[in-house]
């Protein structure tokens, strides 16, 4: 059952929303500046309600079922936090008012800064970055500003092949040239690899830890020592923080700068692509470089403190995705220290349980102690002429969102599974059963997989056509 596009519906003169009555006379306006207004369709309220209700029904969310998208931490998004973020007194605060009018919201931001520092083991936090990639950008801008403040010119940055995909682009935006490093056969970066690459032109390293294979970079302290002694800085991509809350301390690992993804570890909803939030945390010495303003507390209460002369400056017109920050704050307040740690422990338990149960069904390229996610490949299915893509699409017919596929690049045909802690064992068992059924089908009737999905509103879409003949608007 299809739903037309908005502008294929409606009739001129309908209205889907109340209009305030004119209380004042119409004012004259210069005709040469006047436009005609955009060609939007006119709809009634029920048209709009049905349109978006139907659209929503073609979407799969965490509330619909398991979403084992590796590296994305699709955990349960508490409804309570949505309501709290919509508290009218909070949702109406204008960001250009004076601090005295904003004490409540400043308090939330101040506390969240403190909480994130405590969770990472780092010293200072800016909440401004609106997403993980902007957090990375903030980190790289801090790198650049640091070396600039020291009068040094360093142009290279080391990035292992198990890091997140945004890292090279973030580094490049700040003028750094990424230098790829190969991880070892155990899926970890070796100290020697770093030592060999580190030189006086190298600004530092961007590590994801645990990395995208779900493996903890056990050599991280030694690696950090090598980088630091070469005059470089260590960037830790904190997107996988869900594995190690209350367990690993980024500061002790030797990390200087780290961003967090509140929409991953801290349970804020992904919203079909955003808004997220990517706060950046730093060690004390880098605090002056953080983007401003940040919230400080003194006798007068909470206030916004602008960035100093070394600050990289603003990254957002105001304070980042504030309504996302409120949700993350609420999540941390709901969990407390014990439950945050337990969440990580259970996330890792779930991933290891899945790995154990799927071993043999799917090829496991790195059979290492892993944390919150595990990476398989389609190697065992090559005989049947079935690919990772086919397996993923067939899983859809079983009611699951597929895992992350073809990432990390270090594993050909990767199938990267992150269950998160909010899945219970029964659900994991059902997922295992579904995946095994798909793999059995791959043997018995591979065409089923190649034709999949068949139970969705649309079947496999022609992405090549979309790119060759772009139709980007109606």
């Amino acid at each position: 059952l299809d739903e037309l596009l908005l502008w294929e519906k409606g009739g001129k003169g309908r209205r889907g929303m109340s209009m305030v009555a004119a209380e004042v006379p119409e004012a004259p306006i210069a005709p040469e500046l006047c436009g005609e207004g955009p060609d939007f369709p006119d709809l009634s309220e029920i048209d709009v309600v049905r349109h978006y209700t139907r659209l929503s029904q073609w979407n799969f969310g965490v509330d619909s079922g398991m979403y084992p998208l590796g590296s994305c931490t699709m955990k349960y998004n508490p409804k309570l936090n949505d309501r709290l973020a919509a508290t009218p007194e909070i949702a109406c605060v204008h960001p250009m008012l004076d601090d005295a009018s904003c004490q409540g919201v400043l308090r939330i931001m101040f506390e969240l800064q403190q909480f994130l520092a405590a969770i990472t083991g780092l010293d200072a936090v800016s909440l401004q970055p609106a997403a993980g990639a902007q957090g990375e950008l903030a980190g790289m801008l801090i790198f650049a500003a640091w070396f600039q403040s020291r009068g040094e010119r360093r142009t290279k940055i080391l990035i292992p092949d198990t890091a997140h995909g945004t890292n090279p682009a973030s580094a490049a935006l700040c003028g750094f040239t990424p230098v790829p490093l190969k991880s070892g056969a155990d899926g970890r970066l070796a100290v020697e690899t770093v030592a060999a690459a580190m030189d006086g032109e190298t600004a530092g390293i961007m590590l994801t830890n645990p990395n995208t294979l779900g493996i903890f970079e056990s050599n991280i302290r030694a690696i950090a020592d090598v980088v630091h002694s070469g005059g470089g800085l260590v960037y830790g991509d904190g997107a996988n923080m869900n594995a190690v809350m209350g367990i690993a301390d980024a500061g002790k690992c030797g990390i200087d700068v780290m961003h967090l993804n509140l929409h991953k570890t801290f349970s804020t909803p992904h919203g079909g692509g955003g808004p997220g939030a990517g706060p950046v945390c730093v060690v004390r010495v880098l605090e002056p470089f953080l983007p401003g303003p940040r919230v400080v507390q003194d006798d007068g209460g909470y206030r916004l403190a602008a960035g100093g002369p070394e600050s990289i400056g603003r990254l957002h017109a105001f304070h980042g995705n504030f309504s996302v920050l409120v949700r993350a704050w609420a999540y941390i307040r709901s969990m407390g220290p014990e439950n945050l740690r337990q969440a990580s422990r259970l996330a890792v338990l779930n991933a290891n349980y899945l790995k154990e149960r799927l071993k043999g069904t799917l090829h496991l390229p790195y059979d290492q102690p892993s944390l919150h996610e595990c990476v398989f490949s389609d190697l065992l299915q090559h005989g049947a002429g079935v690919t990772t893509l086919d397996i993923a699409k067939r899983l859809i017919d079983y009611g699951y969102h597929p895992p992350t596929i073809y990432f990390p690049l270090v594993v050909p045909g990767a199938i990267m599974i992150e269950p998160t802690e909010t899945e219970c064992r029964d659900d994991l068992d059902q997922f295992v059963a579904a995946l095994k059924a798909v793999v059995q089908e791959a043997r018995d009737n591979p065409e089923l997989l190649r034709q999949a999905p068949v139970r969705t509103k649309v079947r496999r879409l022609d992405e090549t056509r979309a790119a060759r003949h772009p139709c980007l608007r109606g």
Binding site: L141, G246, F318, F322, L461, E463
Partner: protein, 444 residues
């Protein structure tokens, strides 16, 4: 804990299945010297009811309340938001889904964003809009970086000083490490940008103007386009109040190559400035230089219409360091929300609503000028304007605030030359009786 489903028995059994004796065993790969000391220093867990009470207490500390009349814009605008916008955008299938990497399971998000792109392109009068960026400020920074990519070998951009000061700060942050030069363009007595400087500048990739600008003044974009293009640069227009295009000509009509700004006005709460929405559109020829996600229409294997993320060869996960931007998400739900709002408002409604903003704003402007205030800039405005008062306005403003009206903000912090000048904003939420109160307080 209600978010953690595991019973002790399940944990035991799962540990047994993977051959571990306890949960700590799972972390043997983490060296001792990387471990946390003690428990995380965050407060103890609160129940749902304790947390709700805490939020109620925090809300109670807020002195500017939802029923106040806030005559402040400057980048965020108080507009009415229909209940359907809230309730539809809050449907959990939208809210709890990820970036639509598996299009067969995400046609809702994808069609919704395709429609958002369409409405945005129509609103801004340009050929193509992306799936959104973080906010208006970073959208402008990305717009200028895009100009620098398109106009090769240029290393300069010019930015009007009448662009929102925070936007200019973000532009500086983005451009600083790569050494691009930013040239400030002054504004004149009418509050419009003075473009006479442009002639003397070499290697200019882009010129950024905001319209309506930070002072609420509508720039004469139509006359700006030629000199900018003559200088070999792209015209990048910013905006903070897209509602203006319900009444005024849109950037595309006036020759803009790229238009970028903030979409909060279109159905998003002010919410201390976020979540925000960076709207971004450009002429069709530049689409492959665009930053951010794009949704395109295609067909499935049975010929049914469907939508996918497309042109991803521009993006970081394919092009890595050669990408057009490092962006890998969008403000998906914010974009969807504004699309719902635009659908509910419709073209006719947008025009009416823009009129309401304009008329009310002109009413207050005329009333205050009649009460003795001086209009600082002579140019036409939409729903914001700048005034200077003969007497000290601060005590008047304080009295008004006690009566539930927040009357403007002072501009001296951002523009020392405009100390004691006040920027007012009037939207459809401002009732005539509140405007009359302001006028009568000001009248000597």
């Amino acid at each position: 804990m209600r978010y953690l489903p595991h019973t002790p028995e399940e944990i035991r059994e799962m540990l047994a299945a993977i051959g571990r004796s306890d949960l700590d065993d799972l972390f043997i790969s983490i060296p001792a010297d990387c471990r946390c000391d003690g428990v995380i220093a965050v407060p103890a867990a609160l129940t749902e009811w304790q947390l709700s009470d805490l939020m109620r207490d925090i809300a109670a500390t807020m002195t500017v309340r939802p029923d106040h009349c806030v005559l402040v814009g400057a980048g965020r605008y108080h507009h009415h938001i229909p209940e359907i916008v809230r309730s539809l955008a809050g449907r959990s299938e939208f809210l709890t889904s990820y970036t639509p990497y598996q299009p067969e399971m995400a046609q809702g998000t994808l069609q919704g964003i395709f429609e958002y792109q369409t409405l945005t392109a129509r609103l801004l009068g340009l050929d193509v809009a992306n799936a959104s960026l973080y906010d208006g400020a970073s959208a402008l920074a990305e717009g200028l970086l895009m100009g620098l990519r398109i106009v090769k070998r240029s290393r300069r951009v010019a930015v009007s000083t009448a662009v929102h000061p925070h936007y200019r700060e973000v532009v500086r942050s983005y451009l600083r490490p790569t050494g691009y030069e930013i040239i400030d363009l002054p504004f004149g007595a009418d509050g419009r940008t003075d473009l006479s400087l442009l002639q003397g500048i070499d290697g200019l990739a882009a010129v950024a103007l905001q319209s309506p600008n930070f002072f609420g003044v509508v720039e004469d974009l139509a006359r700006a386009a030629d000199p900018v293009h003559d200088a070999g640069a792209l015209l990048v227009t910013a905006f903070t109040e897209p509602l203006a295009y319900g009444l005024y000509r849109n950037p595309g009509q006036d020759g803009a190559d790229i238009a970028c700004g903030e979409g909060q006005s279109l159905g998003l709460p002010v919410s201390f400035g976020g979540a925000a929405l960076g709207m971004f559109a450009c002429r069709g020829e530049f689409v492959r230089s665009m930053p951010g996600r794009l949704v395109g229409e295609t067909v499935d294997c049975e010929g049914r219409r469907g939508y996918v993320l497309t042109l991803s060869t521009r993006e970081q996960h394919i092009r890595r360091e050669k990408a057009t931007s490092n962006i890998c998400s969008n403000q998906g739900l914010c974009a969807l929300t504004t699309a719902i709002y635009m659908a509910a408002l419709g073209g006719g409604g947008l025009r009416q609503l823009a009129r309401q903003n304009y008329d009310r704003s002109e009413y207050l402007k005329a009333g205050l000028v009649g009460a003795g205030a001086e209009l600082v800039f002579g140019g036409p405005t939409f729903n914001e304007f700048v005034l200077r008062f003969g007497d000290d306005f601060a005590p008047v403003r304080q009295r008004l605030q006690e009566r539930g009206i927040v009357a403007g903000i002072e501009l001296g912090a951002s523009y020392p030359q405009l100390a004691d000048c006040w920027l007012f904003c009037v939207t459809e939420k401002a009732m005539k009786r509140d405007l009359d109160t302001v006028i009568s307080e000001v009248r000597p």
